[in-house]
């Protein structure tokens, strides 16, 4: 399996490598005994390699395909891959192709082990629990090493795109501060530059034409969508966990200033190259160890990275909660696989059944802000695809932020390692529709940007592609694996999944 070609400057000769893992400078061969583990195919900032137009990366469930529609990329000198800030990081540090352009916990741990914490990944600005903690000590980086979380410092109160302050509808009190950062005299809410620190996972920098599709200018969730100051037009608002940045350009600038500690703005060409690269990438699981090839002839049309390219501009409207326009389609052929068939047949049938659990099996969706509260009623008896409705990706076109309880008590799982905040809403504010005017939360989410009480805990859902490559899941890493995702929803909404349904749904999600 060809992964990366080592570039030889000035000559056409390349060396095809049947590599699977690059770790600590050593090379591991793709052999049967390696298939049991997840291999990190780490790209270091400043690497001089050629990424093929269609790159394949092995993971625990099979293989991920990453396609660049613009062809091969020579990483040397490319701003996405160069450490153009001051801390040695590049964009690729947190958006690794092998991790579906995100960053898996396995990769983080492998880098820690390989470099004894010296990798720029562990820069203390956001790779430590708080910037003042001693670098290289495991306890300083526990949120990253145990949960895959980076510190996201946000100014409080927030400002609009034009710099004018937002008047929040609530006050924030720090109830628990295990990292020390929110009560810190320099980095916290009472500091000279009041800042709230929340802890979140990196998001996928792929399939972005789907994510950035603006859709209608209005939304039944929020009324008017935010206007992108760069274009003067409404934006999808689906790029960030809290919708705070609307364009790839602004995300890149923010990341360079913060995550890469760059102290001056990049030039226009640099910015454009980064954005262009991100827009060229399409990612999906393309091989399952049991079901075998995902996508192509004989497989559901919505599987595999090639399908992501084929369908990106196929439709006028990407709402997929409809029988004639399903979110993910083409599973009929796999439904007829024999129950007593071989392993491949059984795996395919399971994936097809799992699709039907996702698309057709109703359950009560209840007390979820920005789905129950938008006129659908509370509760509503619907399916996963009611919220996860975007064709080919499974995010929400509406835009995608909602509170399903990953951060807000009482629904959030016990997270003693995360800060806990108490938010008190003004009497005249629209209250959180199900928690009222006093909310305890690990991450206020969208409310930190909008200042609105009803947005407390609402976070932008992610797309479903490449799940197999980028555990853990949810913004705060609550779900350690795909089973954890399914189990969260089963508990949260009392879905009462049978063991078979649970297994099938897990297999389906792992095939995307």
């Amino acid at each position: 399996m060809i992964l990366h070609r080592r570039a030889t400057r000035g000559r056409n000769a390349t060396v095809a490598l049947t590599l699977v893992a690059i770790a600590g400078g050593g090379l591991a061969r793709a052999t049967a005994e390696n298939e049991r583990t997840v291999h990190s195919q780490w790209i270091e900032p400043g690497a001089d390699i050629v990424l093929p137009a269609h790159a394949n990366y092995q993971n625990a469930l099979g293989g991920l395909g990453v396609i660049n529609v613009a062809g091969d990329v020579h990483t040397s000198g490319h701003p996405f891959f160069e450490p153009i800030g001051t801390n040695g990081r590049a964009c690729v540090t947190c958006h690794q192709p092998s991790d579906a352009m995100s960053l898996s916990l396995d990769s983080i741990r492998e880098r820690w082990a390989a470099t004894q914490g010296a990798d720029p990944l562990f820069d203390t600005f956001d790779g430590a629990n708080c910037p003042d903690q001693p670098r290289g000590e495991r306890s300083s980086h526990s949120l990253l090493l145990d949960h895959g979380l980076f510190r996201i410092p946000l100014a409080w109160p927030p400002k609009r795109f034009d710099g004018t302050p937002v008047k929040p509808e609530f006050t924030i009190e720090v109830i628990k501060d295990p990292t020390g950062c929110n009560t810190h005299p320099t980095y916290g809410l009472q500091s000279k530059n009041p800042t709230i620190s929340v802890y979140r996972r990196p998001r996928m920098a792929a399939n972005l034409p789907y994510i950035l599709r603006p859709g209608n200018p209005f939304s039944f969730k929020i009324g008017a969508k935010d206007i992108d100051p760069r274009t003067g037009r409404h934006a999808s608002m689906n790029l960030m966990a809290d919708g705070r940045l609307l364009s790839l350009e602004d995300q890149a600038l923010d990341a360079m200033a913060n995550h890469m500690q760059m102290h001056s703005a990049p030039d226009a060409v640099t910015l454009q190259r980064i954005v262009s690269y991100e827009n060229q990438l399409y990612v999906a699981q393309q091989y399952d160890k049991r079901a075998r090839k995902l996508g192509g002839e004989g497989a559901p049309y919505s599987l595999g990275p090639e399908a992501m390219i084929e369908y990106v501009d196929k439709y006028d409207y990407y709402l997929g909660d409809a029988l004639d326009m399903p979110v993910f389609g083409g599973f009929e052929a796999w439904k007829s696989e024999p129950a007593d068939g071989d392993e491949q047949q059984r795996a395919r049938a399971s994936i097809a059944r799992g699709h039907d659990v996702f698309f057709l099996r109703p359950f009560w969706i209840r007390d979820a802000t920005h789905i129950n509260s938008v006129g659908l009623g509370n509760p509503i008896r619907r399916t996963c695809s009611t919220c996860h409705n975007a064709i080919m990706t499974g995010h929400d076109i509406a835009p995608a932020f909602m509170d399903v309880g990953t951060s807000n008590l009482p629904w959030a799982e016990a997270r003693p390692e995360l800060p806990l905040f108490k938010l008190e809403c003004e009497p005249e504010a629209v209250p959180h529709p199900y928690l009222g005017r006093t909310v305890y939360t690990h991450d206020p989410g969208r409310a930190l940007i909008s200042g609105k009480c009803e947005d407390i805990g609402s976070l932008t859902m992610q797309q479903f592609r490449g799940l197999a490559a980028r555990a853990p899941y949810f913004s705060n890493g609550t779900a350690k694996d795909i089973a954890g995702i399914v189990d969260f929803y089963d508990r949260r909404f009392d879905m009462q999944l049978t063991d078979q349904e649970r297994t099938d749904l897990i297999n389906f999600l792992g095939s995307l």
Binding site: F218, F220, L319, A322, D367, L376, G377, P379, E428
Partner: protein, 264 residues
């Protein structure tokens, strides 16, 4: 929000066992004769019944009233919310009960603003079957966009669009957001000079004599909300002027609104 029940869902309680739907049901007659024709306004807890197509009822003075069947976001019936009370405004009919409840026609419901955790009831189906419904609990049969869209000719003229809101709500449901969109599209199409938005608030006299008045800041917030959607959609350069009427404009539900006037 009103919805008129053009078709009735017939609950055949006594026939249910014969066709295999759950336990035998005691026949419950429609509304008592002395209630028929009465206009009722009350605030109560909504109750959802776990029928295959969930139906909503509420209890008031010992009677169960049918509110509507779960549908989509663009339906006439906007389903209430547990953890909230609901304002019900409707006229009692003698139509056969639906979902076990007396049918109100017309009927309007408003989800009240604050959380009330005492409103938390889900009833079992108890053999009730909802025959008439807009869509089931699964995916819609057809993607909304693929429905036929009428071409509309825009004639330059002064035109108004009333955007209705639930009681004490400053954000509109989808059907009314579409009215704002329609106003913006119309303004742009005719090259309107000006779009005026006026926000209002109302009051309601309940059946028990109490008077509920909407919050004093509703007119301003409604006007600003409508303005934000107009600007997001675009009015083709027409100036947008916003004002609001502080005092309640009346008892009619239409007072809970914002009025858009497009001036050519």
């Amino acid at each position: 929000m009103t919805h008129s029940l053009a078709k009735l869902a017939l609950v055949v309680g006594m026939l249910l066992p014969a066709i295999g739907f759950g336990a035998p049901q005691r026949f419950v007659p429609p509304a008592p004769k002395d209630l028929v024709g009465q206009e009722l306004r009350f605030v109560s807890c909504p109750i959802v019944r776990a029928t295959e197509h969930p139906c909503w009822v509420t209890e008031y003075e010992g009677e169960l009233y049918f509110l509507g069947v779960q549908a989509g976001g663009v339906s006439d019936f906007i389903a209430p919310q547990l953890n909230h009370r609901v304002l019900v405004e409707g006229v009692v009919t003698d139509k056969p009960r639906v979902c076990g409840g007396i049918v109100l026609d017309p009927v309007r419901t408003s989800t009240m603003r604050d959380v009330d955790r005492s409103c938390n009831a889900i009833l079992p189906a108890e053999g009730h079957v909802i025959v008439t419904h807009e869509r089931g609990p699964g995916p819609a049969p057809t993607q909304p966009r693929r429905r036929e869209v009428r071409e509309v000719e825009h004639v330059p003229e002064l035109r108004t669009f009333r955007v209705e809101f639930d009681f004490d709500m400053e954000r509109a449901w989808v059907k009314n957001i579409m009215k704002i969109n329609e106003a913006a599209v119309f303004a742009a199409a005719i090259g309107a000079k000006r779009v005026e938005v006026v926000g209002y608030r109302g009051r309601v006299r309940l059946s028990n004599g109490a008077v509920l008045e909407e919050l004093p800041f509703m007119p301003k917030r409604r006007a600003e909300y409508v303005e934000s959607v107009l600007r997001a959609v675009g009015t083709g350069g027409a100036e947008i002027a916003v004002r609001f009427e502080d005092e309640p404009s009346g008892d009619d539900p239409s007072a809970r609104s914002a009025l858009i006037t497009v001036i050519p």
